[in-house]
Symmetry: C2
DNA sequence: TGAGGGTTTGGTAACGTTCCCACCCACTCG
DNA sequence: CGAGTGGGTGGGAACGTTACCAAACCCTCA
């Protein structure tokens, strides 16, 4: 019941294992008649090469495996990123080991360690907020890393992000252009890199219009839809409540959606597109990012590093897109 | 610049590689003082074990890697499945190799071959419609396979599906209970297993009510939203048009959504939940499946097989849930 | 006929690890 | 005091493959 090895094939074909290796790997210098015999034996035994053993012995191309570590694979954003990474890898005959960090630094380290213990040729990483010094150890020497979606502070590696700041600025500028002057910011913890950038973009837009920042309109640390809803209630209770919201991620956008029209209708622009956003009432105006492009760019960078590119770390910044659907305009009851 | 090996650690610690192996793998029978010396050398060199070499030599537990092959990782349904598989694997100290078939049998075979060439301990597969005889070859001997979402015809392995037929029956029964008598079926190619089951469930519901099947109300082979919309136009043009639709997957549901209210409002129940379905107008009634449960069940089965369970192949069928939100009721303009 | 060149083939060692066994040493006990 | 015990350690081989080199073969041409 053992799986057949090259030795078994060699015995059956009456040749040496070396010759079998040559045939199976498509190397030249084998007589056609011999190759045919070997091929027959391979099919007869249902032989399949053990690529782990192969990669252990070979030096030149590595294991033809890369690791992809995202925050949460169930998040459609990362799922699409993963898909385009897998597509690029497949085109290059490479497999993908996948993992989710769930934003836990410990799990990130564990999984990265498990990946490198498997001798991955490279790593695409959505880094957690923790330090990434461990990636500089000798165990990772020669394993290129590419960060996606956010940079790893203090780690000088290729990074692919979208221009969160410009996107947020665009969103808020859109609201201001439609006559709003009191625009609130609703975001997750400002320590999260993307959230910090988006908040900065929000402030940029205000500054450009000469509108002073009002701390009462800025809410950080909203981690759930319920917290976002509560924050909205708080904003409505202000003596001078906002007439428009910029919601800094899709969870928050969803959270405020319920209470958008009561007691008074509020305009809203959200960061991150939602499926069906155009069918909501009102149709949702959003800043949309392209996760497929993110994943594709990251994979492209990684594979050129694997191919031997040793130039200075690159930083790719992709643009966002404002998708106007109506919810950003002035709304009256 | 070479990565350190056990030999390097052994040399530095002044012991044999064997002793390093024991320390690194946490085996007993090493004097505490020796273990400390080795640990120090490990940290000094930043040594990390090569798990590929390890798994090549070891027999008992395999490579601690499983393969997961879905139709399309960008599909949120499969993404959530993948997440729960990865979670289960992580709990067991196992890594996950991932791949997408894009419903191409050739790609399926390629990726499965690449997985087994890496000596995965098991395989979770969303099978394409093609034959799967290749999984019976000696190369796959001893590699358990679990099919998920749909069975692989002619392959006697553990399978986890949802009860598509009962779900569809439930959906149509719901429409009939709300006074509809002319209910149309809109589905993808009936050769796709899930679609066949859902169509059967549709017919079951009609039969139970004594309503004769009307071929004019049944549309197969709708592969895009546009085709679904066109099919709806055709149905509306009938002398005796339907008053309700059962749409057999989310793509089709989305396709008909646009034209649901004009010229006359139609009721609809869709198979497969959509995010934001409750915020659409009308709020969409759907048959919802639980991809996390599917993935979890598949992983559970696979790991018990890997642990040595050799009982007859099991077939797990999960229930669906009817989520009533209004769109299934009788609708008037 | 024999030297020279090319093609085809096989033997040996090595990749980094662990299994199996033998060894060494310090004790204990008769 | 010698034989037995048991924990701690190391040597050699092996997992399945490929790099490297040497050998065997065939053919051509002087």
């Amino acid at each position: 019941m053992r799986r057949p090895t090259m030795k078994d094939v060699a015995r059956l074909a009456g040749v040496s294992p070396m010759t079998v290796s040559r045939v199976v790997s498509g190397e030249p210098g084998v007589a056609p008649a011999t190759a045919a015999k070997v091929g027959q034996a391979v099919r007869a035994l249902g032989y399949q090469r053990n690529d782990n053993a192969r990669h252990l012995r070979r030096k030149s191309p590595g294991t033809a495996t890369i690791g992809l570590l995202v925050d949460d694979l169930a998040n459609p954003f990362y799922a699409r990123m993963a898909r385009s990474v897998e597509d690029e890898a497949h085109r290059r005959g490479c497999l993908v080991l996948i993992g989710s960090t769930h934003d836990e630094p410990r799990r990130e380290r564990e999984v990265v360690a498990a990946f490198t213990a498997r001798q991955v040729d490279g790593l695409i990483l959505v880094p957690t907020a923790a330090g990434h010094g461990f990636l500089r150890g000798p165990a990772h020497a020669g394993t290129p890393v590419v960060c996606v979606d956010r940079p790893a502070p203090g780690l000088a590696v290729d990074t692919v992000t979208v221009d969160n700041r410009a996107g947020a600025r665009r969103a808020v500028t859109h609201l201001l252009a439609h006559g709003h002057t009191r625009v609130a910011y609703l975001g997750d913890r400002v320590g999260i890199w993307t959230q910090g950038q988006r908040c900065a973009g929000y402030l940029d837009a205000l500054t450009a219009r000469g509108i002073p920042e009002d701390p009462a309109l800025i809410r950080h640390g909203l981690r759930t839809g319920d917290q976002a809803r509560a924050a909205l209630a708080g904003l409505r209770a202000l003596p001078d409540p906002p007439t428009a919201l910029f919601t800094s991620n899709d969870l928050i956008t969803l959270g405020v959606l319920d209470d958008l029209d009561h007691p008074a209708p509020l305009a809203v622009v959200g960061f991150d597109d939602l499926p069906l956003a155009e069918r909501l009432t009102p149709p949702l105006t959003v800043i949309s990012q392209d996760p497929l492009a993110l994943g594709g760019a990251a994979a492209g960078l990684l594979f050129s590093r694997i191919a031997g590119d040793t130039s200075a770390p690159r930083s790719v910044v992709l643009e966002t897109r404002l998708v106007e659907r109506g919810s950003g305009e002035l709304r009256r009851a």
